[in-house]
């Protein structure tokens, strides 16, 4: 995939197109941007993501030239752009309101910028035609903006801002005015056009889904500062702070005191599936949905992991026990999520008949770039929730009286007694009626079920009153799902499902 190869920010020789150097912007006593330095590379699709009032729009307006930094410099292609007025910058902007000229036709709107450059008429016409074609607006060229739909207006605005062939295109909440379905289509269209034209795009949005979909890198902003800049998958899977984890997607945060666990007694044994490059996502669903049917548990549990205790056995071993569990040991060689032997078996024997043979396409995270993440184990396999025996290392988190400590096998180095947070995505949390054989398992009661069609989110209240969200893909018809309101359930997750956050 070409997208995965496009990563100029990892190449030290690559010259950034835009450089923010200690940029501060103050309005009176209010600091909108607080001493920020970062780079944006050519051909990037860079998203500034944050809640309203976080300074993302100010950042964009400084690039467009409508605001000047109070301190610091912004370089575009190595040149300070502070003295260049907006009408002389090779930067165009697509406004949130689209700002189409209501008295001009679609064609004249697109031609507006070109006419200001005093180009010959035939070249303007050719360029406008090209833009109309790119945005599929040929049919509407002679209409006025109020005679076309919102989605078409959005495309006119895009065509108009692209017509001059800017080095940098700024998009201010470009899809905010569209309805959900159209927005999704338009997101892909935007990516398409960005790829076709090779223009650098900077998009400002408060919609995390939009940022994740379109951007090559996302900068999460809060209160005038950029909290994290990373690729969408990294930001989701490896947020660097509770703020980012909370802002991007759904998350349950456990706060507690960390204790380092005893390291591995013996080296991890390479197991048979260690080298296997297959990890069907579906493998997770059978796991979470079959645990509650005893027959399935016995079916699975006995042949695959004879040394592991069967789920039905009372008093499942304490998760804190630091015994090596060879069958489920993390596979060091592989980076992506991998099903264990049980998952593969289950899939090939059972699900293959329903869902067809498993696909071996794996969406992989890029390797963690930060040095502090070297500790992070490569294993992110949710299926290993089935084992009760956590491998050694990692930390335990004491988070509530009378509740078992949580185990996190990867994450940054912490001191004993340090306050940490464990961020847990709902889709990584399993839910079952019987106690699962998992590293982390907590008992609770279903309070709410949000049925989203493709997914259901269960809001489970733990015994100490804390709410935790678990998400299941609705691979079965609704009548066949048996967890309902007020049910006593177990929520469980693997030792590596959560992200340990120290800030």
């Amino acid at each position: 995939m070409p997208e995965t190869k496009f990563a100029p920010w990892t190449d030290p020789n690559e010259k950034p197109l835009i450089q923010f150097r200690n940029v501060t912007k103050r309005f009176g006593t209010f600091t909108a941007i607080d001493d920020q330095s970062f780079d944006i590379y050519a051909k990037e699709f860079f998203a500034l993501l944050g809640p309203s009032g976080c300074g993302k729009t100010t950042m964009m307006r400084m690039l467009a030239g409508f605001e000047t930094p109070t301190e610091g410099t912004i370089l575009l292609g190595g040149r300070d752009i502070a003295p260049i007025p907006p009408n002389k910058r090779e930067v165009n902007m697509m406004f949130q309101s689209y700002a189409l000229f209501p008295h001009l036709s679609v064609r004249d709107n697109i031609a507006f910028g070109l006419k200001r450059d005093k180009l010959p008429a035939d070249r303007i016409a050719a360029r406008v035609d090209e833009m109309l074609k790119l945005t599929r607006l040929e049919k509407f060229a002679s209409r006025k903006p109020h005679q076309i739909s919102g989605g078409q207006r959005q495309r006119v605005a895009l065509a108009r801002s692209l017509a001059k062939g800017p080095k940098l295109l700024l998009l201010d909440e470009p899809l905010g005015a569209l309805d959900a379905k159209l927005r999704q289509d338009t997101q892909f269209e935007l990516m398409d056009i960005q790829e076709k034209t090779g223009t650098t795009f900077v998009i400002v949005t408060h919609d995390q889904e939009e940022a994740m979909t379109v951007a090559s890198r996302v900068a999460v902003m809060d209160d005038g500062r950029i909290v994290q800049i990373a690729t969408p998958d990294e930001i989701y899977e490896a947020p660097n702070s509770a703020y980012v984890a909370d802002f991007i997607g759904d998350v349950t945060l456990f706060s507690g005191t960390a204790m380092n666990r005893a390291p591995e007694a013996e080296p991890i044994q390479e197991t048979a599936e260690a080298g296997t490059e297959a990890a069907p996502e579906e493998a997770e669903n059978p796991e979470t949905e079959t645990v509650d049917t005893p027959k399935a548990v016995t079916d699975i549990g006995v042949p695959v992991e004879p040394e592991a205790p069967i789920s039905g056995e009372p008093d499942a071993p304490e998760p804190a026990r630091a015994e090596p569990a060879p069958a489920a040991a993390p596979a060091k060689a592989a980076r992506g999520p991998q099903p264990n032997r049980m998952g593969l078996w289950l899939h090939d024997k059972l699900w293959a008949k329903v869902f067809g043979p498993r696909t071996d396409i794996v969406r992989q995270l890029p390797p963690p770039s930060d040095a502090e993440r070297t500790l992070k184990s490569a294993e992110t396999e949710p299926v290993s929730a089935e084992t009760s025996r956590a491998p050694g290392g990692g930390i335990t988190i004491d988070w509530a009286e009378g509740q078992p400590p949580l185990i996190a096998l990867d994450g940054p180095e912490v001191k004993d007694g340090q306050q940490v947070q464990l961020a847990l995505r709902p889709e990584k949390v399993g839910i079952s009626k019987t106690k699962p054989d998992a590293v982390n398992a907590l008992k609770g009661k279903v309070i709410d079920i949000a049925y989203l069609g493709n997914l259901s989110t269960y809001h489970v209240e733990l015994e100490n009153g804390m709410m935790i969200k678990a998400q299941l893909a609705n691979t079965r018809r609704i009548s066949r799902r048996d967890i309902t309101w007020e049910d006593e359930v177990w929520v469980s997750w693997t030792g590596t499902a959560g992200v340990v956050l120290t800030s």
């Binding site: 907006p86 209501p102 910028g113």
Partner: protein, 297 residues
């Protein structure tokens, strides 16, 4: 169905009562002859006599008053002069009013209600008193001349009152709010990001104004111009108080025919012709308003 009929009926009844009936009366008077009696014209259409009354009215019907208007050049000169004064003062009002409306629309949000209030405030005093006070300002011993003399800018008082200049000043002063308000409302509605977009696409501030602001305030300008032009055309108070003997306006002529000569039929004929002249700009104005509403939808 019934509700719709009633809904449509109400404005039509309104028009009938307040426009068509008075116009019919004026038209009727314009078609009669002058006579020393009360009322000072004959014949009168006496509907109480039924069909006979109508027959008698039509028997005496002629258009001699309208013919008379074409015979005496005072009238068509007065029409033309009124037209000239109305056009010039509309342009002048626009030149004064547009910058004021623009400044108001660009003013900080919290200032706008105050500025709007200041524009409307003169309406709180009688129009007549305000025009009279201009006499006090513009006369040879008036405040303006005193000020200019004391500043040493002029050695002799300027003759302003009782000239067309005074009429223009009076008209611009009186009709300025009618020009400012529609332009302000057009400018205020305009999205500021349009100007930023124009600048972003390579316009200077001036070209952005010329290519974006001005076209977008076009409907406001047109509305303002009609709101000034139409009443100024028939204006009577300002030219008679501030204008001199050489100031010829049809409103003044009409007043004199009506009250000084007591020639109601000729005065009515003057009014009917004035109305016919004004129907053209009124229709154009209505069309502009409708277009504005459609564009907003």
């Amino acid at each position: 169905m019934m509700r719709r009929v009633v809904l449509i009926l109400v404005p039509y009844l309104w028009l009938l009562a307040l426009f068509l009936v008075p116009f019919a009366i004026v038209l009727k008077i314009s078609l009669s002859d002058i006579e020393l009696s009360i009322p000072p014209y004959t014949p009168q259409l006496d509907l109480s006599e039924g069909w006979e009354g109508i027959k008698a009215f039509f028997a005496a019907l002629d258009f001699e008053n309208f013919v008379f208007l074409t015979e005496d050049d005072l009238y068509w000169k007065a029409y033309l002069s009124s037209l000239q004064i109305a056009v010039i003062s509309t342009v002048l009002t626009l030149l004064v009013g547009y910058p004021m409306a623009y400044a108001m629309a660009r003013a900080p949000n919290h200032w706008r209600p105050t500025l709007l209030m200041l524009v409307i405030l003169p309406f709180w005093t009688s129009f007549l008193i305000r025009v009279y006070s201009w006499m006090g300002i513009l006369s040879t011993e008036g405040y303006l001349n005193q000020l200019l003399l004391s500043l040493g800018l002029i050695s002799e008082p300027l003759l302003i009152l009782n000239t067309n200049v005074a009429v223009y000043i009076g008209i611009i002063y009186t009709y300025l709010p009618f020009m400012i308000l529609p332009i302000y409302s057009a400018l205020e509605r305009m999205d500021d990001s349009l100007l930023e977009a124009a600048e972003d696409l390579g316009c200077s501030r001036l070209t952005a104004f010329w290519l974006v602001t001005l076209p977008l305030s076009k409907n406001g300008i047109i509305a303002g111009c009609f709101l000034v032009f139409i009443p100024v055309m028939g204006e009577f108070v300002i030219p008679s108080l501030l204008g001199g003997s050489q100031t010829l306006m049809i409103g003044k002529v009409l007043f004199e025919e009506f009250f000084n000569n007591l020639d109601w039929p000729v005065a009515s004929a003057v009014a009917v012709i004035l109305l016919l002249i004004l129907i053209i700009p009124i229709v154009l104005f209505q069309r502009n308003q409708q277009k504005t509403r459609e564009a907003e939808r």
